[in-house]
Structures are given as C-alpha cells and as structure tokens.
Amino acid sequence: MAMYRSLKAKGLNVRISPTPRELSVCCGVSLLVLEEDIDFIREVASEENLSYISIEGLNNTFDNTRHRYG
C-alpha cells in the first residue's frame, strides 16, 4: 500500500489488482504497472525503502468481451 501511494504520488499509472495465478497461489494483492515504468519503480523503491516481493512481466491482456465470470 505504501508502494501504491508513493507511485501514485509520482503520477504513475498504477492499479491495485489480485495477484495473477501465474505468480502466486494465494489470493494476494499486486500492483499493475506499465512496463516502461519498471526501472523508475525499482529506483523509487530503493530510495524510499519500500519492500516488494518481485516485479514480474506477464503477457496478459484484459478482454472485456470474454464474459467469463467464474
């Protein structure tokens, strides 16, 4: 959450999302970020001593016409 607030304050396009299943088996919280912002995020995190488990790239798209609701 601290990470989210800090990145938001810096004007980045960030969204809170459930952790994708490819990355963790627990329903956890992740931040969705843009690929081009990743280096900047690593910098911010180390400067402000924010902790994160990892940054992973996923080739996922959101498809609002899939109509799969579980």
Partner: protein, 422 residues
C-alpha cells in the same frame, strides 16, 4: 500472503477447492474492472478490498473474535445492522454470487432453485468462503420460500436465527416487524453478552444512516448527464457495503464522492455517447458482475440499480428522533418495511420506485433482471413492464443465472435494446 493460507486452514476451509476459486478471480477482475477506461482514482480502496477479498476483512473478523467479539452473517437488506452493531457484534453480508458454489448447493436443493440460494448452501457446505466460516451465527429472514426452506438445511450446520418478515404492509405488519427486531435484539444480546441500550442503539442508528447517506451521495453523482463512474465500479462499492466495516466504508465512499463530484464539475464522462440504463430486479451478490459488464460493453452505461445491491439497500433513513428503545425499534422497523421487495403483496411501491428512479437518473431505458427461478420477481416483472410502458419508459426483461453460457445471447438482446433506444 502465506498468512492467508494459515488463516483459511484455521477456519477449517477446504483449501484445495478454495484454491480453484482463487484461480478464476484475477482473470475476471482484470476483464471486468481493469479493462475499463478512465476509472476514478479513488476506486483504489475498493480494488484493494476486492483483490484480497478473502484475506483482509476475514483477518479483521478473526482478530475481532479473538477479543471475544461475535460475528453475525446476514443475507438480506431487511436485516437491521443497527441492532447487531449496537450489541457490540459485527454484521457481515454472506454473498453467494458465484457459479463456483452452485453445484455444492445442488447437492441439497432442487435444481430449479435460484442460484443465490444454491450458492449460499454451496459456500457453507463446501467450506470455501472465509466469511461463511467466520460468522458465529447466521441471521436469516423469511423473504421467499426458497430461502425459508434452505435455512432449515443451513441451520443444521451453524446456529441460525430466522426473522419472520411480514408479506404485507398493513399497520399490524409494521408492529409485527418491530416485534421481530426485538426478538433479534434478544438473540444478539444472548450471543454477545452485551445489552442493546438507548445510547448504543441511537449511536448505531446514526452511524448506519451516515453510511446510507454516503451511498445516496455516490448515487447522486450518477444523475449527472456525464457519468463520472461506471455502473460496474458502483456495483462493486454496493457489494462491499454489505461486509466492510461500516464506519471505514462511509469514510472511503465519501473520499470517492469528493473525486466524483469534482469529475461532475469538470464534465468527465466515463462512457461518452452510451445509453443510460436503470437496472431493476434481483440482487447481485459479489462476484456477480455479469449484467453490468455486458451492458457496459454493449453501448450502455448503468446509472442506477433498483436492487438490493442498489437503492433498496440505502434509500430511506431511520428516524433519529426516537428516545426510548421502543421508539427506536419502531423507527428501525418502519425504515426497513419501506423497502419494496417482490416478496410482498401488493408491491406497488416498487413500480413507483422504478418509475421515479428512471426520471431522477434521466435514463434511456430500464433493464429488469431476474435471477433464474426467482419466482416473485419473475411474476412481478410482467406488471412492472406494463407500468413502465404506461409511463412511456422502455424496458427489457432478462432472466439469467451465474453461468457464462448465455452471455452472448444476452448481449444480443442488450445490444438490440440499446439500438431501439437510438
């Protein structure tokens, strides 16, 4: 995150099966919520609650229970949260909005039972919902026949108190509901060991009213000609209203409203050119976002819901001027009996509500949604359609359940309906 697994295990959940539920959530949330353009920033709190829906709030409830607190699971907008919180308990909605739980419920119930009721039993007996596991006691209500009889089965596995909701709205029924609320007070007092007093009840009447007022404020922003927030996002807020801490929820919705009111002032429009739709009908428990998603990807924008996850939940305040317990209980009874559910007869108030809301929110059309096998709303749909036609308001009736298989057929109808509004 490993803490979640530990908590779920301690709650006696079926972890393997629950894992299957967790598997579908990120994809569905991505498709339904993250794909939307121009979302309000302050949806972030609600995104977080949703992202860890079985983690954050259940953990709070578990902590509360460690201090001796009691958690009451509820299923319906008629159950008065005021008295549960006044007795020092926590009321939490038990949702039942996923197809995931339906097969579990079908082991106990006839196939032609509504999916909400099936999911309710499935979530309990499959041990795949931490809210169902955490609640010390369930508070049911005799709204429809399906629920009434299903509570008998549910009650074999968990302490359950059923409130007898009248089916008419005569003065004698208002008194009867006040009596039922007094019975509920006795039940929660016995469970929590705390007394409901004039002081704590007055305090919680105010607090729950404040929550209603903030939801009304949220809905008011949707009356603007340019919609500042999607119906899908608002539905999520309404769903979370049932189980989040009421005071924090009020605060968070107010923060969201600050942003939305600014958006209205700035003329921000999340769905330019979309047709304004009022949804009426049966409740949409989390994670049932199907109809909102279909409508909002078919050229529509949902600007109001006349449902239990909409105006029926928050419209009407409890009169705060009562000084004695009797007065307060009667005031609470009067407010809840003002909700117009299809389980009542006659239920002309609902027709008036839908027509009024259609005008207040300046909608292009109404989509009346019926959960499959919900007999009362299904039958009432006929008269509702007539009344709307008489008022010159276009309406489309849709019957559906939680499955995905009719999504394309429904999409055709919704698109065609929106084409007729042009």
């Amino acid at each position: 995150m490993a803490d979640n697994q530990k908590m779920w295990a301690e709650l006696g959940m079926n972890l393997e099966m629950h894992d299957m539920l967790c598997e579908v959530l990120p994809g569905a949330v991505g498709d339904v919520f993250m794909s939307q353009e121009n979302r309000p920033e302050k949806m972030d709190f609600f995104d977080m609650v949703l992202a860890d829906v079985h983690g954050i709030r259940p953990a709070e409830l578990v902590e509360f229970k460690k201090t001796g607190g009691k958690v009451f699971g509820t299923f319906c907008a008629y159950v008065p949260d005021e008295v549960i919180f006044a007795a020092g308990g926590i009321a939490t909605g038990l949702c039942a909005g996923s197809q995931f739980w339906v097969p579990g419920g079908e082991r106990y119930l006839p196939a032609n039972t509504c999916p909400l009721i099936k999911a309710m039993l499935g979530a309990r007996f499959d041990k795949t919902c931490p809210f169902y596991r955490t609640a010390d006691m369930y508070i049911g209500e005799s709204t429809c026949d399906g629920k009434k009889k299903a509570y008998e089965i549910l009650g074999t596995d968990v302490p359950l108190h059923v409130m007898d909701l009248p089916q008419m709205k005569r003065p004698v029924d208002m008194e009867k509901w006040a009596y039922e609320i007094k019975e509920l007070i006795k039940v929660v007092e016995a469970e929590t060991g705390n007394k409901v007093t004039e002081e704590n009840l007055a305090e919680w009447i105010k607090k729950i009213n404040a929550k209603r007022a903030t939801l009304q404020r949220l809905y008011n922003t949707r009356k603007a000609a340019k919609a500042p927030i999607s119906g899908t996002d608002t539905l999520l807020v309404s769903q979370i209203a049932y189980y989040d801490d009421p005071e924090r929820f009020t605060q968070m919705v107010n923060i969201l409203c600050d942003e939305l009111e600014q958006r209205v002032a700035d003329g921000v429009d999340v769905a330019p050119g979309a047709k304004r739709i009022l949804i009426s009908g049966t409740p949409m428990a989390i994670p049932n976002w199907k109809m909102h998603n279909i409508i909002e990807t078919s050229g529509g924008i949902v600007v109001c819901e006349e449902t239990c996850t909409g105006t029926r939940y928050f419209e009407g305040m409890v009169d705060e001027t009562g000084t004695t317990l009797d007065e307060m209980v009667q005031n609470i009874a009067d407010r809840y009996m003002g909700i117009n559910c299809a389980c009542f007869t006659p239920n002309t108030g609902r027709f008036d509500d839908v027509i009024r809301l259609a005008k207040e929110y300046n909608v292009d059309g109404v989509i009346d949604i019926n959960l499959k096998f919900c007999q009362t709303y299904d039958i009432e749909g006929y008269t509702l359609e007539q009344k709307l036609n008489e008022a010159g308001i276009k309406v489309l009736g849709i019957e559906t359940d939680y499955t995905d298989n009719d999504a394309q057929q429904i999409k055709t109808r919704v698109e065609a309906f929106i084409e007729t509004l042009e």
